[in-house]
Every structure is written in C-alpha cells, then in structure tokens.
C-alpha cells in the first residue's frame, strides 16, 4: 500500500499541472448550475479564481477550501491536495451535477481525494461508490479506514453529506478533543488508531496509508514549490531549536498562531466564512511569501527537500545528544550531524561580513542555517507584540450568516434525514450494555450519588415549610364538565318526549332526576343572567376565604386525661376485709364509731343497738327497743371520749340518749353524769339521775350486764324497756304496727308516707318532749328519751357534743328539723316553714353553720345571724346523704340516682366534681376524719374509696383519685350497703349492709 500510495502520490504529483483548468471549469459549472449555492459557492468560485490566478497548480477552489477547513490537521494533507485536486475536480463536477444541493465548496476536494485514495487502493470497495460521492456515512467510514486518505475524506465527508459538513469541520478546528463516536476522529486523523472495529489489516493499512499520504503529499508539495516549503520547514525547526529565548519565542509564536486560527475559526463557525477573499488572500500570500506558518502550525511534518528535511519527527532533539547522527534517512542509515558548518571563527567572520547574519538562525533538526526574510521578521515582530503574524489577516472580519432574513425560493437543501440517524446504534447499545453490566456488578457506581451536606443548612426546611403552607391551601374542587344530558342544547335522545319520559337509556345513571332542556342558545338558559355575577362572587369567595385543609390534631386521649397519681402512692387506704361484726339479724341501718376508735355503735332494723369492740369484733352490749322495729340512726357524740360519753339513738318517733358509762373513765363518767343531770329540773318529769346512780353502778358490776350475746338477755332487756315506757309505746303504735313497711324507709320517700301516720284520734305530739327513762333503762345506760312528733330518721351532733339536730323528713313544716340541747334538755325548731323534704342535716365542724339537705338542694344557714347564706344546687338528683369535710370547706353529697357530688364551698354552688361510678343508688357517703379519704356506698353492693386531698392554700383544688372498690356484703331486698363510716384514727372503713353484717375494711 505504501508503494501504491507513493505511486499514486507520484502520479498525482505529476498530474496537477493540467487539472487546475478542469477544476476551474467544474467550479464554474457548478456555480452556474446551482444558483442556490450561495455565497459559499460564490466564494468557492472566487477562491478558485484566485487560486487560478495565483498558482496554476495549486490554486483550485478545492484546495483553498481544504486548507481553510482543516486548519491544523488538514495541513498534514496539505501536501496532498496539490495532486488530488485534479481528480477531485472531476468528481466534484460529477457531484455537482448529481446534486445540485451540494455546496460549492463542498465537496469537491474531498470527493476528489476520496476518489484518489480509492483509485490507488484498488481493493478499496469505495471505488465504485466514490463517483457518486454521496453515500454519507458508509463512504465516510470506509474512507476513515483507509488511512491517510481518510483524513481528508473525513473532512470532506461532512461536506459531501449534508449540513454535518460544517459541523464536522468546526469540530476539527476546535482541536483534538474529538469525540470517538464515529464522526470524525482527530486521533484517527493523526493515525493513532481506528475507533471503528474494522479488521487489523485494514487498520494497519490505513496507518501506512496515512504515512504514505504524508509522504506523497510532501512529495507532491515538494514538486510544486520546493523552495518555499523548504524555507518554511527551516523556519520551524530552527525556531524550536533556538536557545532559551528563542525557544520561548518560538513556542509563543506557535501558540499565538494557533490561537489566532482558533479564534478565527471560532468566530466564524460556519465554514463558509472562511472562504472569504481576505482569507484566501492570506493563504495565497502565505504561499507566495512562503510564510511557513501554516506548515509550522500544523506541526513540523511537512518539509521540503530531502536534504533539509527533518527526519526526526516530533521527538526531542536531546535524544540525539549522545549520538553523532541525527535521525535516519529512508534507507535506514543514520544521518550524520553536520552542524552549522561554522566554527567560532567562521561565525565571527560571518558576523562581521555577512549583513544577513543577524537574521540567520540555525535549525538543529534540519542542521541548516536559515535566513529569515524581511516578511518573516516582520511577522515575528508582530507576533511578539501579540498580534497576528500576517498583517493582512483580519480576525474580526464580518461574516455573513448562513441563514439570512431573505426569503429563499428554495430551501438550502432538501436532503432527507440520514436513515442511520434512526437506526439504533449497535455500538452504542453495546457500550450501554457494558456500562449496565458494570453497574449491576457493582464495579461502577452511578455518579449521581447525593453527597451529604458538609455544613448544616439552616434554611433547608424553609421550602418544606412553605410547601406545607401551600399544602394546607386547598384548591377549590373543579367542576366536572357538563355531559350531554346537562347541556343546554342536549342531543335529541336526551330530550324528554311529551310524556315526560326520558327517551332513552342514554341518560346516565344518577342523572335520572335531571330533566334536560333544550335551548337554542346559551344566553337563553335561565341561569345565564346570573352566571357571570355568580362566577364573580364565587371567585371573590375563593379569594377572600381560601379553603384550607382541616388539620386534625393528633392528640392522644390518654394525654388529655389528668395525671392521676398511682393509687399505691396514696396509701394508706382500706383494701381488704379484715373483720366482720356479726350479731344483727336484720339490716344494719346506721353505724357510728366512738371518737377514740375503740367502740362501734350500730343500729339495725331488728330494733337493737349494739356496741362493738372494734379491734376484736366483740359485741359488748346490746340495747333492744322492743316497741320499735327500726333503729334509724345511731350517733356518738363527738365529745364521747372527752366530755360526755353519749350517743344518740333514734328509733321510731323517739330519740334516746344513751351513755355506756362502763367504757368511760371515772372522770368522764362524772362529766357525763353532770351533762345528763343538768337541766333535768326544768323537765316536767320530776327527779334527777341521783336515784339511779346506785343501781346503775351496781348493775355495772354484774357481769351479765355486758356481753349480752345471748338472746335471752337481750329479750329481757328489751321487754323491760318496752314495758316501762308507756309513752313510747303509745306514741309509736302505728310505727310498730307497720313493721314490714320499715324497709320502705330505706327507699327514697317522695311524699308523706302513710306508714308513720299516727292512729286517728290519737293525741299527737306537737313538739319534742324530753323525758327521763325508767330506772331499769338507766341501769342499761339509756338515760333520756326525747319524744318526737314524727319519726326521726337522721341525727347530727354538733362538734361540741351538746347540740343534737334531728331530721324528720315526713314531719310537716317546722317540725321537720329539731335542734336539741342535751345540757338544758330543750328542743327548738329553727326553721319556720318547709322548703322541701329535709333529708340530712349537718353541722359545720368549726363555724356556726348548719347544712340542711333537702331532696334537691343544700341550704347553708348561719346560726348566729339566723339566715340562709348559701344554696348548693343539686340538679336532677335526690339527695340521700351529705357529709361535711373535717376541714369544713367541702361537702360530699350522695344521691339516690347514683351520683355522688363533691362541693367545694370556695368555688361555687355547683359541684366541683360529680362521681357517677355506682350502678345503683348511693346510700351513704363518708369522710375520713384523719386521712385524706372519702367513700361512697351504694345499693350495688360496693364501697368506693377515694383519695380526696384538700389543700390548705387557696390555690390548689382538691385532688380526688379513686383508689379502691370494696365489696363484702350481700344484697338483700335490692339493698346493698346502707351506711359507711371511717375509723377516726385508722385508714379503716366500716360498712353496714342489708345482710345484717358490719364489715371492717383495713
């Protein structure tokens, strides 16, 4: 191939002389043929014209074109053009005829070259196609493969192809950073390798071709104008060999030159620009003036004559420092270093004699002395100043845009898009597959990894917030577009017929109620009038009242609940049943604990009152009131352990004051007797207790006085009581006669109950009457009796133990509430009228206040001012029990309708807390005198114990925590726990049940 190449080179070199003419002709012809080929073509012509002018051999338009196109890389082939043009012209012509759209400049050069190459390379299959010259890619790639020629052909190819010519060229100009994607490769051009996977043979051949092309080109060039190029080569070499300064200078020169060209090309990206006359001028001038810049800038490969030629190539000269030769000639023999041929003396002589000496440089590579011409000097000077070497070169020349504003009759070209552009690239696919494989196997990681920010982005959330804000904005729902049925002008099948039936199933389901109506125009639709106004208002609404997303607060209900301490932290409180006091045979209605905590008093439906020892559950005494069937209430005097050991018992229409003196110390005994005896003189009944003292003491000594566990003893005691107390019997015949009705008393009584109404004609008591009991009773410790006009159901001692309030719910008017003074043996009715049925009455522990609970409200009276000071509202409840907190500021109320209510008197007359934990009526409520406890008991057989701490300061509200539910009774007659009371010193609670038991929970 090399040989062929050479040969062809020779041939070509021989040829040029005659071809130019042809070329011109063809160019001309083209121009004539295609008026559409614009300025380019024109330029081409012009160039041609010039070329023809300047140099017959070289001055083809194609040549000019080529030079311009290939700035640097093209120069390699620069040697070549000279010969090829001849052929090229012919082909160009053909092409031109074939394709009117091919630009003038285009292609000839290339096509020509391609043909030349083909022609030479006989095997090259391109040959046949070449003439056609228009097979875009195929031809191009083939040419690529074919080495040196390919360089040119590549460059040409674009031109030959469509507009990609310009593009490819431009790429070339921008240097070596050529992509390897198959278009034009700089590497390829420089012969480094063929990116295309063609066979090695071809490839090598290509390389050799390349070299040969070079040589051939050089040869051809040399034939054309040897002297010029020789000069040029000389200039390049010596410049590079100049001593430091010179070297720098030369490098700067090169750089400058390149930059100049590059910038020029950059500016004029469209190739046509460079076909300007100036450029051509420059080129031709350069030719003329043999300015070797082009050659130089396109590397040192192109040189002129054999002798001076740089045979080294592009290698540092230092490599030959150790040798006597400098490179090799074609035959492989070393070329001896000759040096400049001037020793110091010669040099001196030359300096003095030779006027040209100052501009003579020695080129190491070619081992020649070169004398710079005036022009070259000038050029160097200019370049030193940073200007373009060529004075005539105008880098800022105007250029004409390819696309003008003028309307063209024909498109610039009408070539169809390249088919290959639509075919998926196999190689690309392979490459992609390769990459995918790598990524999959993990050898390559995708580059788009997000790096963690190195610094904290304080505004990172800003956008998020904003988006959130905007997220909350809810856009108005879009209305669905009307369907046919909703149209103002519905299709006929939607319109109802005369019978009012939708004519078809066309009516969508869900729109049956719609009655389509037909209007001739939209403005006839009744709603049309208001349409715009409504729309406008709607818009206003949306603008001024934007819809926003409803934010559901995610709150856990458990968090909303108040924090309640763990019941275990609130110990002690009663938790288990410890003792059961057995003895009563019927419902235990009332219990009361001695203030010392040692004794318990209980009253039962069996008509007996029992005294118990708390610690052991021992029944110490029993009082029976045979005439009475029910002991309603028993109550120790709060002063029972200190001033007067008294207890009050109410049974039927009488209140008994009993004093179990044997449990009292002698001093207390004396005080009690004094209290009982005082005021007796005022009673109608004569006598005092003096006469009773002796027998009582005597009886106390009898062991059978206490521990009347056995029924015999009890019955005798009871019979004696009933036998001796005639008034008692008389007064309560009715009550005793209606024994079974006693249970009814446990149930809420709304109205006057018949069961306690005295017999007709009986002399009824109008007020309370104090009586002294018989000696026998006194012996048992029952000292006083207060006959009451009506049954007394509830009692309340004042804290000092002298006053006793009694409640007769069924009594009329003033007789409902009595206050008895034990020391003076008097009773009074504090309330004139009735304001409802009084249920309970309680004394304030420290202040002169009286709490009166009716069925539906609680009235607080100030006793010193004698007026009503407060009403506590109980809405919708029927009060069953009421107790006052030991501190006096809180009231606990139980009601028959399951409620228990805590009133804080500091707050309002409404309950501070209402408890509805019981399933049935609340029978009784109780506060613990010592511990922060309170409890409620109910017919559902449970006792509910609460921790209820009251704070002394005014800031804190009472803390109420339910802590325990106790159960230990049986439900009898649908009555559960009737009464509860706390132990005065221990966290214990007693409960009295309808099953006749009293339980102690500790």
């Amino acid at each position: 191939m090399v040989k062929k190449r050479k040969r062809s080179g020779d041939k070509a070199s021989g040829g040029p002389g005659d071809k130019p003419g042809k070329a011109k002709g063809s160019a001309k012809g083209k121009g004539q043929n295609k008026p559409a080929a614009k300025g380019k073509a024109a330029k081409g012509k012009a160039a041609k014209g010039k070329a023809a002018k300047g140099k017959a051999a070289k001055g083809k338009a194609a040549w000019a074109e080529m030079v311009k196109k290939r700035k640097r890389s093209g120069d390699k082939a620069s040697g070549g053009p000279g010969d090829k043009p001849g052929k090229a012209k012919g082909s160009a012509k053909g092409k031109g005829q074939n394709k009117p759209a091919a630009k003038g400049k285009a292609a000839k050069g290339k096509a020509a070259k391609g043909k030349a190459a083909k022609g030479k390379a006989a095997k090259d299959p391109k040959g046949p196609k070449g003439p056609k010259g228009r097979k875009g890619r195929k031809g191009a790639s083939k040419r690529k493969r074919s080495g040196a020629s390919s360089i040119s052909s590549e460059e040409e190819e674009p031109a030959e192809d469509d507009e990609s010519a310009a593009f490819a060229q431009w790429k070339m100009t921008t240097g070596t950073e050529i992509d390897d994607d198959g278009e034009v490769s700089g590497e390829l051009a420089s012969g480094s390798g063929s990116g295309s996977g063609s066979d090695d043979m071809v490839h090598e051949g290509g390389e050799e071709d390349f070299l040969e092309g070079m040589t051939g080109g050089v040869l051809g060039d040399e034939e054309e104008d040897v002297p010029r190029f020789a000069k040029t080569g000389a200039i390049a070499a010596p410049l590079s060999a100049l001593k430091p300064g010179g070297d720098m200078f030369l490098r700067a020169l090169r750089e400058r030159t390149r930059a100049g060209y590059r910038s020029a090309l950059d500016y004029g990206a469209p190739v046509e620009t460079y076909a300007s006359e100036k450029q051509l001028n420059f080129l031709s001038k350069r030719d003329k003036s043999s300015a070797g810049i082009v050659a130089e800038s396109s590397d040192d490969e192109s040189d002129d004559d054999m002798h001076s030629r740089n045979t080294l190539g592009k290698i540092p000269l230092e490599w030959y420092d150790e040798y006597d030769h400098l490179g090799y000639d074609l035959d492989g023999k070393p070329i001896a270093k000759t040096g400049s041929g001037m020793d110091t003396i010669d040099d001196y002589i030359a300096r003095t004699d030779d006027p040209e000496y100052w501009r003579r440089v020695y080129d190491d590579a070619t081992q020649q002395n070169i004398t710079l011409s005036v022009k070259e000097m000038e050029m160097l000077r200019r370049m030193q100043k940073g200007q373009f070497g060529d004075m005539s070169f105008d880098p800022y020349e105007d250029w004409e845009p390819f696309f003008s504003r003028h309307k063209m009759m024909h498109p610039v070209y009408n070539k169809m898009p390249n088919k290959a552009a639509f075919v998926p690239s196999k190689w690309e696919a392979r490459k992609v597959a390769k990459m995918v494989r790598k990524i999959r196997s993990g050898r390559v990681k995708p580059k788009n990894e997000v790096k963690a920010p190195e610094v904290f982005d304080a505004w990172a959330d800003e956008d998020a917030n904003q988006s959130l804000r905007t997220l909350n904005q809810l856009s108005a729902p879009k209305m669905q577009l009307p369907t046919n049925a909703e149209s103002y002008n519905p299709p006929a099948e939607y319109v109802f017929d005369e019978e009012g039936k939708a004519s078809s199933k066309a009516m969508p389901h869900g729109m049956r109620s719609l009655k389509p109506q037909k209007y001739s125009a939209l403005r006839h639709v009744p709603a049309y009038k208001d349409f715009y106004r409504e729309r406008y208002e709607r818009c206003l609404d949306l603008t001024f009242c934007p819809r926003s997303r409803k934010v559901n607060s995610r709150v856990r209900i458990a968090k909303l609940l108040p924090k309640v301490p763990d019941p275990r932290e609130l110990r002690p409180f009663p938790t288990r049943l410890s003792l059961t006091f057995r003895g009563h045979t019927s419902k235990v209605r009332s219990i009361s604990v001695h203030p010392s905590g040692q004794y318990l008093l209980s009253g039962s439906n069996d008509g007996s009152v029992r005294l118990w020892e708390v610690a052991t559950g021992r029944c110490l005494r029993k009082w029976s009131f045979a005439g009475e069937t029910v002991v309603y209430c028993v109550e120790w005097s709060p002063a029972a352990a200190t001033r007067a050991c008294l207890a009050a018992v109410t049974t039927g229409s009488a209140i008994y004051i009993i004093a179990p003196l044997d449990i009292a110390s002698p001093a207390l005994r004396a005080d009690t007797m004094a209290m009982l005896s005082s005021g007796l003189a005022d009673l109608e009944v004569e006598g005092t207790f003096e006469h009773t003292k002796r027998p009582k003491r005597k009886s106390a000594r009898d062991s059978d006085d206490e521990s009347d566990n056995d029924d015999d003893d009890a019955s005798t005691a009871s019979s004696s009581v009933s036998g001796e107390d005639a008034p008692l019997d008389d007064d309560d015949v009715g009550a005793s006669g209606k024994g079974p009705a006693a249970d009814a008393d446990l149930k809420p009584v709304r109205d006057q109950d018949a069961h306690q109404v005295p017999k007709a004609g009986h002399d009824r008591l109008k007020t309370a009457r104090w009586e002294q009991t018989s000696a026998r009773k006194v012996k048992q410790g029952v000292f006083l009796r207060i006959a009451m006009p009506s049954p007394v159901l509830s009692l309340a001692w004042h804290a000092k133990g002298d006053y006793l309030a009694s409640v007769s719910p069924k009594a009329a008017g003033r007789n409902a509430v009595f206050i008895h003074q034990v020391s003076s043996k008097r009773s009074l009715t504090p309330f004139a009228g009735r304001g409802g049925f009084v249920q309970r009455i309680r004394w304030h522990p420290s202040k002169p206040l009286l709490f009166v609970a009716t069925h539906s409200e609680i009235r607080v009276y100030n006793l010193t001012q004698q007026k009503l000071i407060r009403r506590l509202k109980v809405t919708g409840s029927y009060i069953s029990d009421m107790v006052i907190h030991p501190g006096g500021d809180n009231v606990l109320v139980g009601s028959f309708d399951k409620f228990a209510m805590w009133y804080d008197l500091d707050y309002s007359s409404r309950p501070y807390k209402t408890f509805k934990y019981h399933k049935l009526a609340v029978r009784s409520v109780a506060y613990s005198p010592r511990y922060p406890l309170f409890a409620t008991c109910s017919d559902d057989n449970t006792i509910q114990v609460f921790h209820g701490r009251v704070y002394a300061d005014m800031l804190s509200s009472p803390l109420i925590v339910p802590v325990k539910i106790l159960a230990g009774h049986k439900v009898v007659d649908s009555i559960g726990v009737i009464d509860i009371t706390f132990h005065p010193t221990q966290p214990w609670i007693f409960s009295a049940g309808a099953d006749g038991l009293i339980n102690l929970f500790t």
């Binding site: 410890s578 062991s703 010193t985």
Partner: protein, 484 residues
C-alpha cells in the same frame, strides 16, 4: 444450664444416726425438690422407715427446686458452684387439740410455774405430789371476756394436769384483756381500765383464798381506758401496762408494797400531795381494808403515744431498763424506763397489735404483729431495723411469740383462726399453718419448744404439739442474725 448440680450434704440433725452422710460431692438433678433430696439422704443412710428431711441452703429453707433456688440467687450462684446443703429432720405436722371450752372468748394466755400450789391445784394421779414437791409446776392462766382469769395446772405435754375446777382470779368488772405471771404473782388487766394483782402462793401474807379457791386481787391499778397489755419485768419486781388512753405505766409488782401504800394513803385521808398523779382518781376509793382492792400507783407513766397502746413490755436484753411499746398510732417506741424518756420511735405501716421478743441469748430480733396480715421482723441494733416481712395471714395478727430459746422460730396467731409456725429463714412460706380454731385467735403462748397453747374467740383453749427437731439451731444462721 447443666442438668445436674454438685452438692455437698452437711448434717444439722439432732439424731447422730442421721448425720452419717458421706462428705463427698453428689451430682443431683437441678429439678430436685425437697422430697428428692430427702430420698437421697434416706438412701445414703439406708433408713428404714424413711425419715423426712428438710434442707437449708445458705440459711434458707429449700422450698422450690434447686434450679429455682439458683435462679433466685441472681448470679451469686451458678450451676458450676458446689452447693452446701444442710439438712435436718423435717418436722412432723402438728395436730391441734382442744383443751378446754370456756364460757367466753379467751383474750389472753399466760404460762407460769410455781411450787406453791393452792388446794385447787391438786394434781391427780401418780407422781403429782412428787412433781409438786420438787419442781415448779407449769400452769396456764387464761384471761376471758367474762372478766375472770382461770388458772389451771399443766403437764409437760401441755395437757391439763387436773380436771378440777380452775382457780379463778376475779378481779375485774369487765372483760379481762391481758394477763401475765411472774413467780407466784399474777397480774391481769381489762376493759374496766383496771389492773389486778394477785398472789397465787397461799402462804404469802396478802394472798387470800376462799373455800372455792378464788383468788381475790390484792390491788388494782388504773388507766383511763381499756388496758390492753400487761407484762412483767424479767426480774419480776415490776410490771408494765399499756392502755387505750395511750399511756404506758410501770407498776411495782410487790403486793405488800401496794397494800402498804394503800393503807398509808388511806390513813393519810386521801392526801395526795406527794406527787403521784395516778393516785388521784383512786384516792377516794382507797380502803385500808384488805377486803377491797388496794389502788395501785404507777411507778412511772410513759406518755407519748397518740393512739391506743396495744403492747408494752420490757426488753429482755440489755440492762433491762428499756421498754418497748406498740400502738395504734403506727409507731413502735423504745423507752428508757428510769428516765421516762422516749429513746426511739419507729414508724410502722399499720397499727401494731403485738410484739414478740426473742428469748434466745444474744438475740435482739423483735417481731411485730400488725392490724393486717403482716408480721415484721426488726433488729433495733441496725440502722434500718426492718429486716423481713412475713405475709400470709388472713386478717389481723393479734399475737406473735418466739419459740423459747430459739432465734429463728416463732409462731403467730391470726383472726383467720390459724396458727402459723415460721422460720425466719423461710419468710415467704410458714413452716406450718394449722387451723386450730374456728374463730379469731387472740393469744398464743409457748409452753415448751414443742407445745403451743392458743386462746380464741371460739371460747376454747387449744394445744398445738409440734414435732421434735424444730429447736435445732443451725449455728451459722444464728450467727448471721447476730451479726446483722
């Protein structure tokens, strides 16, 4: 975990024949229980018939499997360590029997011994006289809610020695709540707020016996409320009372002194300016005649409790000048009696009903029984006295008592009618739980190391006889307790 454990068996048996287990290591399954180990020992000793054994590891009775014990020890033991297991003869299940049915609830029991027997104490049967002549004969004084104290002689095994009518001490007008005996002196206290002092020895000058054998009190003391407790000083010269009025009083136990004091006060015509406040209330009733009880004056009154004092007694360790009292005010107080100062107050969770003082030498372990199903063990010589808690009773525990001479065993009586015998090394489970009574048990007294007498609300006095072996004192454990 390994399937087996290396154990070494060490004998604490009383019977020498049971101690001959080889000291080599045995590999036993970790699932072994007391029964399996007992079988092992029986096989090793080739005992016939089999004897049940009980096993202790590190001072605690084995009540679960070995594995359970190792797990319970939480890392201090591992499957690799060799367990040293002590074994003793297991106790036979005690059987209760009723000694006596009385008319009323038995509130308290006291056991004494006297050589001087009144006529009623004629012991029938052979050897009775001999025993009377040589030894102090044990007797049981039972305080009843009917106001009487009944005194009956006992045999060694706890049974009544005589069927004769009991000697009756009738010194109260109401229920007797407490009784105590020291030598021939008996003191009782009751709900009539009084304290009665009796001389049981008819040979003593102030003792009075009637033909019926009723001992009349020679003196009464006075509280302002029910006296719940009475106890003698170990030396017998004084006794201490606790009452519902919150006071603890110390009286001279000398009847002669009481009578003389009463006589002198009577002759002085009620002059009570000699600084004895307790005399005031009684001075009017003081009678020189021996027919009426003479009033007792407390030597000292210890005031401080804010609730009813349920128990007051002298400490039996130390120099004998300290007294302990327990109250419903949830406190336990230690008094320095001579000065009347309250040395220590220990707060308890609930009301204390009884105190048990250990009679073993050099042990100050104290038990308290509470108004709840809890018995607590205290050691007052440590910073944090509460050291153990024994749960399992039903209802109140009104009585607790150490086994005489033992530092690890005690018995409790509870309202659930059961008597439980405990070993402090097994706090979770009692050694025995014996349903003795059908009603609340109020009092409990150890006659000996094997006999417990109980009094109850079912009006009976019962006896519980334990097996032998309970009194075995593993020395290691005893020293542990001391060192604590």
């Amino acid at each position: 975990m390994a399937e087996t454990l290396q154990v070494q068996l060490v004998s604490r048996c009383r019977e020498p024949a049971h101690s001959k287990v080889p000291s080599s290591l045995f590999s036993v399954p970790i699932s072994s229980t007391r029964y399996a180990l007992s079988e092992l020992v029986n096989v090793l000793l080739s005992l016939e018939p089999a004897v049940p054994f009980d096993f202790m590891i590190d001072g605690t009775f084995l009540r679960t499997t070995l594995e359970g014990y190792v797990l319970e020890s939480k890392g201090t033991l591992s499957a690799e360590t060799v367990l040293v297991i002590e074994y003793t003869e297991a106790l036979a299940r005690p059987q209760p029997d009723v000694l006596e049915n009385q008319d009323d609830w038995i509130a308290d029991l006291a056991i004494g011994a006297t050589k001087f027997l009144p006529k009623a104490f004629q012991v029938k049967g052979k050897g009775g006289r001999k025993a009377r002549a040589n030894n102090a004969l044990p007797f049981l004084a039972s305080a009843s809610y009917d106001g009487l104290v009944r005194i009956r002689p006992l045999r060694e095994d706890g049974a009544y020695a005589s069927d004769a009518a009991p000697l009756i001490a009738a010194g109260h007008k109401a229920a007797v709540k407490a009784v105590a005996v020291s030598g021939s002196t008996l003191v009782s206290a009751g709900r009539d707020h009084g304290v009665a002092l009796y001389e049981l020895d008819p040979t003593k000058p102030h003792a009075r016996s009637t033909s019926k054998g009723v001992v009349l009190p020679s003196a009464t003391g006075a509280h302002d409320d029910t006296v719940e407790s009475v106890a003698f000083h170990p030396l017998g010269m004084t006794f201490i009372t606790g009452a519902w009025d919150g006071k603890v009083q110390v009286y001279n136990a000398s009847i002669a002194a009481a009578v003389e004091a009463a006589a002198s006060s009577a002759t002085a015509g009620g002059d009570d300016d000699d600084g004895r406040p307790a005399k005031r209330a009684k001075s009017g009733k003081a009678a020189a005649s021996l027919a009426d009880p003479a009033p007792l004056s407390p030597l000292i009154t210890l005031e401080g409790h804010t609730g009813a004092v349920t128990t007051a007694l002298f400490e039996n360790f130390g120099d004998g000048t300290n007294a302990l009292s327990a109250s419903w005010d949830h406190s336990l107080r230690v008094w320095d009696v001579p000065s009347g100062a309250n040395a220590t107050i220990i707060a308890t969770e609930t009301a204390v009903l009884d105190i048990g003082l250990c009679s073993a030498p050099s042990s100050s372990a104290t038990l308290t029984a509470h108004a709840g199903p809890v018995v607590r063990l205290w050691d007052f010589r440590t910073q944090d006295p509460a050291s153990a808690k024994f749960k399992g009773h039903g209802g109140f525990v009104p009585a607790v008592a150490w086994m005489p001479g033992s530092a690890v065993h005690f018995a409790t009586a509870a309202h659930d009618g059961k008597v439980r015998v405990w070993d402090i090394r097994s706090p979770s489970i009692p050694l025995y739980s014996v349903a003795v009574h059908s009603d609340k048990v109020f009092s409990l007294a150890w006659l000996s190391e094997t006999v417990i007498l109980t009094g109850s609300a079912d009006c009976t006095v019962s006896r519980v006889v334990l097996g032998d072996g309970l009194s075995v004192q593993p020395m290691a454990v005893a020293s542990n307790i001391d060192s604590e």
